[in-house]
Amino acid sequence: MARAVVSLPRLLEPAVGAVRKVEVEGDTLGKAIAALLQRHPTLRVHLFDEESRLRPHVMCFVNGQQTRLEDGAVMLDEGTEITFLQAVSGG
């Protein structure tokens, strides 16, 4: 079972406290995200909308590559880095 490290933005502190990194197990991206939400169920409403889609202004990167998490079957390597960020826009 591959292990991935999920990084969370500080802005999500009201949901998860001081947690910034979460180590999860999952051979696929979908399983890793499911493990994250099982560990921290309060994240679900902030990361995903009522259709279980990544919220429009939430960004997700897997090893630096942006993804909208539409393909949960993507296989993960040991040590994969998954990063969630809030989008930055405007000036």
């Binding site: 802005l11 009201p14 949901a15 009522e50 919220r55």
Partner: protein, 342 residues
């Protein structure tokens, strides 16, 4: 007033009075804090919203340590409704209610840990014709009297339940609709109620600040009458009542097209005769023009003579003598969504 919670566009702040007013915060930095309340067991509640993340309910035993509720108000997956904002908390006995945007009512029987939709309102037969106001389509005021309940929804109207939320009917007779039917009548008439307050000694007496006027009812909403004598404008959001004296307070704004005090003259208006007539509430108002608004949840009364409201410009105005004298507190906050006496 001993503790005022200030919910703003960027976090919340606590104002405590101990000889002089002290401010602490922000809590929830970067988050919109849109509602405060207390659960039946006294637990503090806060509603959060965000430009990026979802809306959520948070609980605290002491206003210091907060924990997000796991099973907060939410619409079923697959429904086109979105939970955008928590607008109001209220309690009726051991039951806690939350009003939200998209317009909906939720109840909790365990002090806010778990929430369930109030289907009779959320799935009301008229829902397909509900229409949002500029502030969204939100259930923002909830009143109780035993098994009776009133819910104000913008821009839809005032709904009343006689059976503890098992069924609801809309009661807006006497108030002209704000939203008219569209050409193909897919949009029915809508009433843009902005605020509600009631007399706890006689809950049939309710006052409402609407988009197009100020009204009262003495029969629980069956009939409403306009009460605007002395007001510089009939538009506004905030309305509140000091129950001991019966004094009513509103903060008039010019119009929906210009949601600012008329000519910059910011002041609460008070009625001491149940709304028959209004006048500027006491003294202490700024002489310089104040081009700022006051939102619907930004007024609070402690029922011991304290009245306070916050502005979109981040100021808090306070009276400790039921509106005879007013003071602007020496703090500037982000846009104030809600003010609560906790």
């Amino acid at each position: 007033m001993k503790t005022l919670a200030v919910g703003t566009e960027k976090g919340s702040y606590l104002l405590r009075h101990d000889g002089e007013w002290q401010v602490s915060g922000p809590q929830f930095p970067g988050w919109k804090v849109t509602a405060f309340g207390r659960a039946p067991d006294g637990t503090y509640l806060a509603g959060l919203a965000s430009n990026w993340f979802g809306a959520s309910v948070h609980r605290s035993p002491d206003l210091v340590e907060w924990e997000q509720v796991e099973n907060g108000p939410s619409f079923p997956e697959g429904m086109d409704r979105k939970l955008k904002q928590i607008w109001a908390f209220s309690t009726n006995g051991e039951v806690l209610y939350a009003g939200v945007d998209d317009a909906g009512l939720f109840r909790s029987d365990d002090n806010g840990l778990n929430w369930a939709p109030v289907e009779a309102l959320n799935e009301h037969s008229s829902r397909k014709s509900w229409y949002p106001g500029a502030g969204g389509m939100c259930a923002h005021h909830i009143l109780h009297d035993g098994r009776r309940m009133w819910v104000g929804i913008s821009a839809v109207g005032v709904f009343r339940s006689e059976d503890d939320g098992a069924s609801f009917e809309r009661f807006d007779s006497g108030v002209p609709p704000t939203v008219g039917p569209d050409e193909d009548e897919t949009t029915a008439e809508g009433w843009c109620v902005h605020g509600l307050t009631a007399d706890p000694e006689n809950p049939n007496r309710i006052w409402r600040q609407d988009h197009r006027g100020v009204y009262r009812t003495t029969d629980g909403g069956d009939n409403w009458e306009r009460i605007e004598e002395g007001l510089p404008a009939n538009f506004g959001f905030a309305i509140g009542r000091d129950h001991a004296s019966g004094s009513l307070f509103v903060v008039p704004l010019e119009a929906d097209t210009n949601r600012l005090p008329v000519n910059g003259h910011l002041a609460a208006y008070r009625s001491q005769n149940d709304g028959d007539a209004w006048e500027v509430s006491g003294k202490g108002w700024p002489e310089a023009a104040q081009f700022t608004g006051v939102l619907r949840k930004s007024i609070t009364l402690d029922q011991e003579g304290g009245v306070a409201f916050g502005t979109t410009g981040g100021a808090v105005y306070l009276s400790e003598d039921t509106g005879d004298t007013w003071t602007a507190l020496p703090f500037a906050f982000p846009r104030i969504f809600t003010l609560a006496n906790l």
